[in-house]
């Protein structure tokens, strides 16, 4: 359990990281470093986006699958690492 916290601390310590959220397969956040309101917003919206991206990739080529997703916006970048049971969402502002 301490390893989980340590891993999150290592990721949080990278340059420009604004927040980390871990979401389970149903879209419910289980760990977060942001406030509740933002976490719920990110978790709900990004879960749908990742499922849509994954189905797009698999529709184009059924042997393919989504490995990583990055959404770059004017103010920051959202990175999502998907998996069978969990998603890891990291929000980074690279110019900070």
């Amino acid at each position: 359990m301490a390893e989980v916290e340590e891993t999150l601390k290592r990721i949080q310590g990278q340059k420009g990281v604004q927040g980390i959220i871990i979401v389970n397969s149903e879209g419910i956040p289980i760990k977060t470093t942001l406030d509740n309101a933002s976490t719920m917003q990110y978790a709900g919206l990004l879960h749908q986006l990742v499922m849509k991206a994954r189905s797009t990739v698999r529709d184009i080529d059924p042997q393919n699958d989504l490995t990583f997703m990055r959404v770059r916006s004017k103010k920051n970048e959202i990175m999502i690492a998907p998996d069978k049971d969990y998603f890891l969402i990291v929000i980074q502002n690279p110019s900070d």
Binding site: M1, T7, Q14, I22, N24, N36, A37, D83, P94
Partner: protein, 504 residues
């Protein structure tokens, strides 16, 4: 045969007498004396508190997010993190170093480099009489603009009637020369403010000191409530009205400020036919907190010419006075004001908490920044715009806006570093604090100088629109360029840096 016989008499003893006598015994009993003492109780201090339950919207989400350290992690979380950690950190590091997106910009909307005039609205009968536009306000939907006519250069009582006109800019049948709705008002209107939630209500302050709320959905008689000339109301022109959210969620009261040094908070009573004075604040020179570095001179009343509410702190409001004072005040101040009692229903209180460096000349306009808690900008007749922090006495920045009076200043609702100022020379200067130079980023001038621009208002629903009212009785609606309305990614941090400066 018959003989006399004497029979003995039979005696029956009386039982009744005996039983009565036997039962008679006297006893005495007495209760012990009851001790009585008197005591009095009096409350020395009272405090009232109230609680309110919030709607249980987020309760279940908050429970889900309770990260109790004692609960074991969900199964597989550790393995998942081990799997992804390396790749995520690699991406994060690469992203922080990458220059791939430097200077990369996407145009989602059509980039517009020009500032153009969309409409020029006028009301012919007001223009014939030479009335000036004293105040403009957008409705909460962003499609209706309301303007108040009157005169700004008056010193006397006048009996001129004036108008409040509204135009709906999104209608196809918009006629710039004819207002959709004209409300006749018996005196000049000096302040106007549209309700933040209900598009039909408009609050106005009159030259006579009355505060009126018009309901534009009632065609018969638009006046919904009016303060009238009671002991409670203002006696001097009302220079600013604002809708203030009250403690009960969803309800709003009207805050009005007049040049006699009074700020009053009115609520509409439940029958919707009268204003009830909720709280009164009065400013007296002696009760204004002084900073030791500057002396305050002048008469004892502090005439209020401008008012600003802080969107971040519902207890704070800022007040600017005729003498150039700039004060930070609190709604919950308790000290009673040192004004002679005039039979008002609510005792006036002295709300001034902090005094900023005074200006030379009346402060015409104050506006709190919607992007930073501590910043506000103020202007007055000295032609300068001062950027203040709520925490410091001296201004952080002083910009020269024009050589004449500046009547109104307002922050842009979309760009944290931009504000616009309406000047007495007729121009609207728009300043961008992100630029190195202190000259305005844009100047909006509508031909024919000589007519002062008296008021301006950004449209919060459609932030590219800016309405400007002038003394020639016209209201111009301008469309701003993309540069002035789109936020840069670094603006919030730049604003933060400006706010954290310490004034010398």
């Amino acid at each position: 045969m018959f003989t006399d016989e004497a029979l003995d008499s039979v005696e029956i003893e009386s039982l009744w007498r005996k039983s009565q006598q036997a039962a008679q015994e006297s006893r005495g009993c007495q209760t012990r004396a009851v001790h009585i003492t008197e005591a009095e109780v009096q409350t020395v201090s009272t405090s009232s508190s109230w609680t309110q339950t919030e709607e249980p919207q987020h309760q279940d989400t908050e429970q889900l997010l309770q990260q109790n350290q004692d609960d074991p992690d969900p199964p597989g979380l550790k393995d998942f993190l081990q799997r992804v950690e390396d790749s995520v950190i690699r991406e994060l590091v690469r992203n922080a170093r990458s220059h791939a997106f430097d200077g990369f910009q996407v145009n989602w909307e059509e980039h517009n480099n020009r500032v153009s005039c969309l409409h020029c609205l006028q009301h012919p009968s007001a223009q014939e009489r030479g009335l000036h536009v004293t105040s403009v306000s957008w409705s909460c939907t962003g499609s209706v603009i309301a303007c108040a006519y009157g005169r700004i250069d008056e010193g006397d009582w006048s009996t001129e009637n004036s108008y409040v006109c509204t135009w709906n800019l999104n209608r196809q049948s918009l006629n710039p020369n004819q207002a959709d709705l004209v409300i006749d008002v018996p005196t000049t209107v000096t302040a106007l403010c549209c309700h933040p939630n209900q598009p039909a209500l408009i609050a106005g302050g009159l030259y006579t000191g009355e505060v009126v709320v018009w309901d534009t959905s009632q065609t018969q008689d638009p006046v919904l409530v009016q303060t009238g000339m009671s002991a409670d109301s203002h006696r001097e022109p009302v220079y600013q009205v604002s809708w203030v959210p009250l403690q009960k969620k969803g309800e709003f009261g009207v805050l009005s400020a007049s040049s006699r040094g009074q700020v009053l908070l009115w609520t509409v009573d439940s029958d919707q036919n009268a204003f009830v004075l909720n709280a009164a604040y009065a400013f007296v020179r002696q009760q204004v907190p002084h900073s030791s570095s500057f002396k305050v001179r002048g008469s004892s009343t502090v005439g209020v010419t401008s008012l600003a509410l802080s969107p971040w702190d519902s207890d704070t409001f800022l007040v600017g006075s005729e003498g150039g004072l700039l004060l930070r005040c609190s709604f919950s101040a308790q000290t009673p004001a040192a004004v002679p009692s005039e039979g008002q229903s609510v005792t006036p209180r002295a709300p001034a908490v902090f005094s900023f460096r005074p200006r030379r000349g009346p402060v015409h306009s104050i506006h709190c920044s919607p992007f930073h808690r501590n910043l506000f900008v103020s202007t007055g007749t000295d032609g300068l715009a001062h950027l203040h922090s709520l925490l410091q006495v001296d201004p952080l920045l002083s910009l020269r806006v024009s050589d004449s009076y500046v009547f109104q200043v307002q922050w842009s609702p979309t760009r944290p570093l931009v504000f616009a100022a309406a000047t007495g020379q007729g121009e609207v200067q728009i300043f961008d604090l992100g630029r190195r130079s202190l000259r305005p980023a844009a100047t909006i001038e509508e031909g024919g100088a000589g007519h002062a621009a008296t008021c301006l208002s950004f449209n919060h629903q459609n932030p590219r629109q800016l309405a400007v009212g002038k003394t020639n009785g016209t209201v111009a609606v301008w469309q701003l360029s993309t540069e002035l309305t789109e936020q840069n990614p670094r603006e919030s941090s730049q604003l933060e840096q400006i706010a954290n400066q310490v004034a010398e």
